[in-house]
């Protein structure tokens, strides 16, 4: 057997990739899953979260029905394939934007073009015991953002809404 017998994941022993089969899509599912790490295809039939059949390695070149959303290689430094890696994982469609980051989006201006403190690092605080006032002196603390803001103002990119 080329796979470990665990439901919800397919651990492909050929390429040491763990394919995560999310518990909602695959809770009751039947079909062929392609491994994210290599070109092998596994047939699975899952009922209530348990393998009824499979995972059974299919002959090479067998067409597949679905790819996992995420896969990684825990034995090789947790190298991973994020959702939507072409040819490896299927894209996750229900996203809030066309761009998916999965890490902080360092924003300097709100969508109407005014400064918002959405980026790091910020200068250290000098207040006593962590105290801070009610003031953000952008011009002094972040001169580049202030300059950019002045440009935006001149160009009319700063809006009411």
């Amino acid at each position: 057997m080329g796979v470990m017998d665990l439901t919800e994941i397919i651990w492909c022993k050929h390429c040491n990739t763990v394919n995560y089969l999310d518990p909602y899509t695959f809770w009751n599912w039947k079909g062929k899953v392609k491994c994210a790490g290599c070109d092998r295809v596994y047939y699975v039939h899952i009922i209530q979260g348990f393998y009824y059949e499979g995972p059974k390695e299919m002959p090479p070149g067998e067409p597949y029905d679905i790819m996992p959303l995420y896969a990684d290689k825990p034995l090789e430094g947790y190298e991973s394939y994020k959702p939507g890696t072409p040819g490896r994982t299927r894209p996750y469609l229900c996203l809030p934007r066309e761009i998916y980051l999965g890490k902080a989006d360092k924003v300097k201006f709100s969508i109407r073009g005014r400064p918002v403190r959405g980026w790091a690092p910020q200068p250290p605080s000098s207040g006593l015991a962590g105290s801070q006032g009610f003031k953000w002196d952008i011009e002094k603390l972040s001169p580049d953002v202030w300059k950019e803001y002045q440009v935006k103002l001149r160009k009319g990119e700063v809006r009411e809404w």
């Binding site: 999965g102 959405g118 790091a120 690092p121 605080s125 207040g127 015991a129 962590g130 801070q132």
Partner: protein
């Protein structure tokens, strides 16, 4: 006889031109005037003078206090030194953060999950369980009206700052514990919003029925947290009212999970009387038909890069449950046979009828866009509305004019949009307001410990170095 004495009219009661105008103007204009969002900060606050301590985390208990702060109470939020409220580490898919000036962790921001639940408050840090902290808490309690906390039951008691101890220091003190379960066999069980939804039964009735392939659905963003937090505020205000009369404080022990069950409507009595267990019924209504959400064939933004616009702007809320409305709907969609078949509301409500009727509606809508469907039904005089997304709510003129969604300039974070606080009720005399969204951990340490409690600066410095604050 002397001439009749006229009833005395006080000068200040004679309506002036403005009042006369108010009386005569069309109703909508009148509402616009007395709820004018531009006047918010010219009007007094209802709870001016109340001071509350918020020893809270996450959303549920913080929001119960934030309600008071929006109404004008002065609220002091107490967080663990350096670390702060764990809610600061919540952000959707790890993407949206604001960054204050920092002391220790320059790359750790405060996530948008923390955004709306602690409005207008002053932020101090304090490690309650250090022996030095006890006296500080007592001093705060002496000059406050109440406290809300959310630690496991008995924790504050063990630290010497529970209700038993505090009501001796300040008999007028109102002490609120909010958590998952309260006294009883699961008293030490922890809780979250999602746990309330799950264990309270609300999840089991929300979503698509098993037979349609559905699972129980979680309500988005912590509905039970917010909703049960507000219920605490109701209790707090009632307790304050009682205290006006008697001078006595109280303790409220509040279970969040309980609140979720309270929102299950007829489900509990239905089970109690008949043993019938309410099940999920998807996007339709169990008590009204037609009154549900249908999927149309085409998005309103077929070419937009954002998948939420391109793929999801397809859903419409349609309501035509009264006979005339339903009849009209059937004619509009070209299915008068449905009207002939289901002439009474009782007939239409049967599950089989609902499946047929909504099926027919979706079929009719399958070659139309969402706005075409809404327009056709609205033009026919029926009630329909697109299922709006965040962008559409942001752009909705209605909420802008009413001031329920506003841009504010937060004093330290800059340009942010708020859709809480202002939105939970317009009050003509004492409007609710948002001054700032939140402040960094311990940002008001000097303001509170030095200026309010009179501790010397050197003392504050020492506490800070020792990690007490």
């Amino acid at each position: 006889m002397r001439e009749k004495v006229k009833p005395e009219i006080k000068f200040e009661e004679i309506p002036g031109p403005e009042e006369l105008e108010l009386e005569k103007m069309p109703y909508e204009e009148y509402c616009r005037k007395i709820f004018d969002p531009k006047k918010t900060f010219e009007k007094p606050e209802a709870l001016k003078g109340i001071r509350w301590l918020s020893c809270t985390m996450y959303i549920f208990t913080p929001h119960s206090v934030s309600n008071l702060a929006e109404l004008g109470a002065e609220v002091i939020k107490v967080e663990m030194p350096r670390a702060g409220d764990p809610m600061r580490h919540t952000s959707p898919f790890n993407e949206a953060y604001l960054y204050p000036l920092h002391d220790t962790r320059p790359f750790t921001g405060t996530g948008y999950g923390y955004f709306h639940a602690n409005l207008n408050e002053y932020y101090i840090s304090l490690d309650y369980h250090r022996p030095e902290a006890r006296e500080i808490v007592y001093n705060l309690v002496r000059m406050s009206d109440g406290l809300t906390e959310c630690y496991r039951p008995g924790t504050f008691h063990r630290w010497g700052i529970g209700y038993k101890q505090l009501c001796e220091i300040n008999p007028r003190f109102i002490y609120v514990w909010g958590g998952g379960f309260g006294y009883g066999p699961k008293v030490f069980g922890g809780s979250y919003d999602i746990l309330g939804q799950a264990q309270g039964g609300l999840a089991s009735i929300t979503g698509f029925h098993e037979d349609f392939g559905g699972h129980p659905v979680k309500h988005t963003n912590w509905v039970i947290d917010w909703y049960s937090g507000t219920m605490i505020t109701v209790g707090v205000l009632a307790a304050l009212y009682w205290r006006r009369k008697t001078g006595l404080g109280t303790m409220i022990e509040f279970s969040q999970v309980h609140c979720a069950t309270r929102a299950c409507g007829y489900g509990v009595p239905l089970y109690g009387r008949f043993g019938i267990v309410r099940q999920r019924w998807g996007n339709w209504d169990t008590q009204l038909c037609v009154h549900g959400i249908i999927r149309t064939g085409k998005s309103d933004y077929p070419n937009d890069p954002n998948p939420q616009l391109r793929e999801e702007a397809k859903y419409v809320m349609v309501s035509a449950f009264q006979d005339e409305d339903f009849r009209e709907l059937c004619y509009v969609i070209g299915r008068p046979d449905l009207w002939e078949k289901y002439k009474t509301h009782k007939e239409r409500l049967k599950p089989e009828a609902q499946i047929e009727i909504y099926g027919a509606l979706e079929q009719w809508a399958s070659d139309k866009t969402r706005s075409e469907v809404v327009d056709i039904l609205t033009d026919a005089g029926l009630l329909a509305m697109p299922v709006m997304n965040d962008k559409e709510v942001y752009e909705c003129q209605h909420f802008r004019e009413r001031g329920t969604i506003r841009w504010i300039e937060d004093p330290i974070f800059g340009d942010v949009l708020v859709h809480g606080g202002f939105s939970v009720g317009l009050l003509s005399e004492t409007p609710r307001r948002v001054r700032w969204v939140w402040r960094p951990v311990g940002a008001d340490n000097v303001r509170v410990y030095h200026e309010l409690l009179g501790y010397p600066i050197s003392q504050i410095k020492e506490w800070y170095d020792k990690g007490i604050i």
